[in-house]
């Protein structure tokens, strides 16, 4: 199935750009929607023989070396869901038809890049797809060509390029140790020459490059600017999956299937995760801008994922993978809400909001759900993933990390409660009396994502058995 997810959108875009303009502009939205929906469905229903057989033939024709395992499946679902949300939000926020067409084209290339990242099994191809995703997102951030967007895009570009250079250096050095760059070969060669000076050096560079891509503290400088300055639909994409696919998923994958969980790597990951959790949460407390607060909260939540993955145990990785999914959903939801606020209030400055839950009931209610899930309140999905991570930390004897991880979710609650009070409760500021709920596209997306959050929490046993347990087979 795997190459379908790359080739169909690729040929699709080429075809779209060859069609006459009027047709292409109308068809683009539906084509993209179909691609993303198909991506979700293919990732969820990945077993039936018909698909597999037909798709295997397709794969072998193009001889693309993709493979989809359970971790990739989870990521593919995230990518599909978040891209779809971004697309729907873009439809209602980008009004100009021509601009919308360009936007959808780049959105599709971005999603090709991300799908590629989660399916490749070769470290150099991984780099190629990372660049595809990153280059698309630079254009997307700068899409409106306002000065803030350009500034955010430039900072992201520079930092991301530095990360790329680090990773390429690492790949080049690893080539001294391995005849090719496939994950399996590299894994064997690295395991063979563990403790070697130059190889360790290369591993360190690669991990740090991924830290930059994932926006972990103290590599996070670009992240709040990029998230805040990007147009609303792009923020959804960036915060929901982009940095997760580029940095976090890749880190989990590379460490698990190439570098191996050695103690120094585990300690580094857990330490960086912990710092990210704390700094992100504390920084979020001091924000006055809705989107910027969400950006810092993203850093903090990503810290949880890395903390969980850094345990190197099954439970930790399962928790990390599930938190990755949850984070994509609830942070996507919050950014959809921020798009609604931006559209209606005209700003994302929280000091100019208040009492909006009366005027925008759907937006208010869904953001409460997202907030509770992010803070890990049962029975929402965020609770389960955090629980798994904390249990994993406990099992390997890192009691202090476990305790701080729990306490930090109080901090999460604190800044979200502050945000709720600033935005949704309290008194309506003058000038907003005539405010109405955002359009159907936004509210429907928000409601759908909220349903997923609640549903994933309630159906956790099902998810655990069908999506998380198979992770055991890849990693162990």
């Amino acid at each position: 199935m795997s190459s379908v997810l790359i080739l169909v959108p690729l040929f699709g875009i080429i075809g779209l750009n060859m069609l006459p303009r009027n047709v292409a502009r109308r068809a683009a939205f539906w084509f993209a929607a179909a691609v993303f929906t198909a991506e979700i469905l293919l990732a969820i229903v990945h077993q039936p023989a018909f698909w597999t057989e037909a798709l295997v033939r397709f794969d072998s024709f193009f001889r693309l070396k993709f493979s989809v395992d359970s971790l990739s499946r989870i990521m593919l679902i995230c990518i599909g869901v978040v891209s779809l949300s971004s697309l729907v939000v873009a439809k209602s926020t980008v009004s100009d038809e021509k601009e919308a067409f360009k936007f959808i084209n780049i959105l599709i290339t971005a999603s090709i890049g991300m799908s590629g990242i989660v399916m490749v099994k070769d470290i150099f191809s991984l780099y190629v797809f990372l660049e595809i995703a990153a280059l698309s997102s630079f254009i997307l951030i700068a899409f409106n060509k306002d000065i803030n967007g350009l500034e955010g895009a430039f900072k992201y570009l520079i930092l991301s390029a530095v990360a790329t250079v680090l990773m390429l250096t690492s790949i080049a050095i690893l080539l001294l140790d391995s005849p090719d760059t496939a994950f399996s070969t590299l894994h064997n060669e690295i395991a063979h020459s563990r403790g070697n000076f130059i190889v360790t050096f290369a591993i360190g560079l690669f991990i740090c490059g991924l830290f930059i891509k994932g926006g972990l503290v103290p590599f996070h400088g670009w992240l709040p600017d990029a998230y805040m300055a990007a147009p609303a639909p792009v923020s959804i994409l960036l915060a929901g999956v982009m940095t997760k696919a580029c940095g976090i998923y890749t880190l989990m994958r590379i460490v698990a299937s190439v570098f191996g969980f050695t103690d120094p790597i585990k300690n580094t990951m857990m330490l960086i995760g912990m710092i990210s959790i704390l700094v992100g949460a504390f920084a979020a407390l001091g924000q006055t801008n809705f989107k910027r607060m969400l950006a810092y909260s993203s850093i903090s939540q990503v810290g949880y994922i890395i903390l969980g993955a850094g345990t190197g145990t099954f439970l930790g990785l399962a928790g990390a993978a599930f938190h990755l999914f949850n984070h994509a959903i609830f942070k996507g939801l919050l950014f959809v809400n921020s798009a609604a606020l931006e559209e209606k209030v005209g700003t994302s400055d929280m000091s100019r909001m208040g009492g909006l839950s009366e005027r925008m009931p759907v937006t208010g209610a869904t953001s409460v759900i997202a907030m509770l899930s992010a803070s890990g309140v049962p029975p929402l999905a965020g609770f389960w993933s955090k629980l798994l991570i904390v249990i994993a930390l406990w099992q390997i004897g890192h009691y202090a990390y476990a305790a701080i991880a729990i306490l930090a979710s109080v901090l999460t609650l604190a800044y979200f409660l502050y945000m709720q009070r600033q935005v949704f409760f309290g008194k309506l500021p003058p000038g907003l009396e005539g405010l109405r709920e955002a359009g159907n596209g936004l509210t429907l997306t928000a409601s759908a994502l909220a349903v997923i959050t609640v549903g994933a929490g309630l159906a956790f046993p099902y998810i655990y058995n069908h999506f998380l347990l198979p992770l055991k087979e890849i990693f162990f």
């Binding site: 120094p264 009070r421 058995n465």
Partner: protein, 609 residues
């Protein structure tokens, strides 16, 4: 479909129905709510004292959806279901004119379902699920009080949430060090076990509202709608918290008399009794005064259970059910007064006793019960607690006794100021409350008398089975208190409280100011001052700390600048001039930070080579 799923599904289903009904369909809504709460109560009584176990596979590694009904859980469920029905009946009149009526009923039904679920759960993780969800309904219910209630709701949420986190950690420790999340592990208290016990205990007593997790309750009493207060801190949360405390102490841990956790519990109990009652004494608001008593009474239960001797535990549990009854009823009378007289400020009330005779009678009965006057139920449970406390140390007994003195004094003051004395000019034409509100109060008041006069009924059928034959060793605790001398002393203390009241009234000429001489006593007055300014409120103290942290955090990015602008200037002389030129370029800061950390990480990894 198993019978045990019904207590969870019935309220949830009717909550959904109520939610879907339009806001204007008041009669239908009331009917649905009353029917379903009644059905729930009936079901709880039908299931009473049965032993049923259901189990569905759920997550794996020992997380099962497993429910168990036995004497204790059926007892708590029946009590909660009865309160649920009565409060629903009461609220159908009380909230009639309020626009939050619909949301309140939804929350009430969901809370009932969750409570049933929590009580029935047969393992800790499942219980945690229901327990935490109650936190959300609690938040929502307090929020019903309007805009001002947000602060209180947040406060409650943070306090309970934080203590629940402790409980989660406790459950994790318990589960992993004893090997299963079942309730019956009899884990020893040494080492990690002790830590687990304390963490779980924090969760339990915070839910019950004991000190130092109490400070949201008085605020909620003012800000939240009255039925919410009567239901959650008044009845359901106490039942649940004490239920869990008992389960911890009796089933989960091998807690022995004389162990340090026993002393810890007794100290927490004694302090709660004393401090809360002292605060109650000086309140000038009907509901706020009651709310402090709601805290104080928890102290008796924690003290009773903390003795770890059978008589104390029986007393604590008996006190739990008694207290839920009379405290619920007292709050309901407060609601009746609020609705009919328009205020609960004691300075404005007075002389309404003759205008609301039924309410007054109910108040009288329950006030006597809470003060521990024979032959009402409170007397008997307190005597049992006294007995247990004395067995463990006279100091705890003394604390309980002093608490009893002040309880009586404050209720004399309350009754005097609210119901007797001269009527206020503006409240000449106060009428008796509607019958939907009276029925629950009267029923509960009658039950208070019944449980007192015929205390064999609750003790024999409800409480003693919880402890089991092994622990009781053939003792039976019904009938007249076992220790006659203690009963005499209690009566003398009550008489003292009465004399004190008369002295105060003589001195100040007003029922409201009858206890002011205590308020102005040398040391106490300073404590009262500090409390009034909020210095003693743990929540405020915590908030202060958090503030400091958040200031520190908002300076983080400036600290990064400092690192770049100041630190590097001093360390790297070569870069001095260049860095000054670069200080405004922000993304450069990020690059420098990233590269510096990269070097550190690479060095760290190379260290092991």
């Amino acid at each position: 479909m198993n019978m045990l799923l019904l207590p969870i599904l019935i309220p949830i289903a009717s909550a959904i129905i109520v939610l879907l009904l339009p806001k204007s369909a008041k009669l239908l809504r009331d009917t649905v709510t009353l029917l379903s709460t009644f059905a729930n109560a009936l079901l709880a009584i039908m299931l009473f004292n049965k032993e049923i176990l259901v189990s569905y596979p759920w997550v794996g590694f020992g997380f099962e959806f497993s429910l168990r009904l036995y004497n204790f859980s059926s007892f708590i469920m029946a009590a909660a279901a009865s309160f649920g029905f009565l409060i629903a009946l009461y609220s159908s009149a009380f909230t009639a004119a309020k626009n939050y009526s619909k949301s309140f009923f939804v929350y009430l039904l969901i809370s009932l379902a969750l409570l049933n679920g929590a009580v029935l759960s047969n393992n800790l993780l499942l219980m945690l699920f229901f327990w935490e969800a109650l936190l959300i309904t609690q938040f929502g219910m307090i929020m019903l009080g309007g805009r001002l209630a947000f602060r209180t709701a947040t406060k409650a949420f943070v306090i309970i949430g934080a203590s629940d986190l402790c409980m989660m950690v406790g459950i994790a420790i318990y589960g992993f060090s004893s090997g299963s999340f079942a309730f019956s592990n009899n884990m020893p208290l040494a080492g990690l076990g002790g830590l687990a016990f304390v963490l779980l205990m924090i969760g339990a007593i915070a839910k019950a509202g004991s000190m130092p997790f109490h400070s949201w309750i008085p605020d909620a009493a003012i800000d939240a709608p009255l039925p919410v207060v009567a239901m959650l801190p008044g009845a359901l949360e106490k039942l649940l918290g004490i239920y869990f405390l008992t389960r911890i102490s009796l089933d989960m841990f091998r807690a022995e008399t004389g162990s340090w956790v026993s002393y810890l519990l007794m100290i927490v109990g004694s302090i709660t009794i004393l401090f809360a009652v002292m605060m109650a004494l000086v309140q000038k608001d009907y509901k706020r005064l009651l709310s402090y008593h709601a805290i104080s009474q928890i102290g008796y239960m924690v003290l009773g259970i903390g003795t770890f001797v059978p008589v104390g535990i029986v007393g604590g549990l008996f006190h739990m059910i008694n207290n839920s009854m009379y405290k619920c009823c007292l709050f309901l009378t407060g609601g009746a007064v609020e609705k009919q007289a328009g205020t609960t400020n004691l300075e404005k009330l007075g002389g309404i006793g003759s205008k609301m005779p039924v309410t007054f009678a109910c108040f009288l009965v329950t006030a006597l019960a809470i003060s521990g006057v024979p032959p009402f139920n409170g007397f008997f449970s307190k005597e049992l607690v006294y007995d247990g406390a004395l067995e463990r140390g006279w100091i705890f007994y003394l604390a309980a006794l002093v608490g009893s003195f002040f309880t009586a004094a404050s209720f004399l003051k309350l009754g005097h100021a609210a119901y007797l004395g001269k009527a206020d000019k503006d409240r000449k034409d106060v009428k008796e409350a509607p019958y939907q509100m009276l029925i629950p109060m009267v029923l509960i008041a009658l039950a208070c008398i019944l449980f007192g006069v015929y205390n064999k009924l609750p003790i024999k059928f409800l409480i003693q089975p919880v402890l089991g034959v092994d622990r009781l060793r053939g003792h039976n605790y019904w009938g007249f208190p076992p220790n006659f001398i203690l009963a005499i002393i209690s009566v003398v203390v009550l008489a003292g409280a009465f004399l004190n009241h008369i002295y105060g009234v003589k001195k100040t000429g007003s029922g409201l100011k009858a206890v002011d001489h205590i308020y102005h006593a040398p040391v106490l007055s300073e404590i009262y001052d500090a409390q009034a300014k909020g210095y003693l409120d743990p929540y405020n103290i915590g908030l202060g700390f958090l503030n400091i942290f958040s200031i520190a955090a908002s300076w983080f990015d400036k600290a990064v600048d400092w690192f770049y602008n100041v630190f590097s200037v001093k360390t790297a002389a070569l870069l001095t001039n260049a860095s000054r030129r670069l200080q405004n370029g922000n993304y450069k800061t990020y690059i420098i930070l990233s590269m510096a950390t990269t070097v550190l990480i690479v060095l760290f990894l190379l260290r092991s080579v």
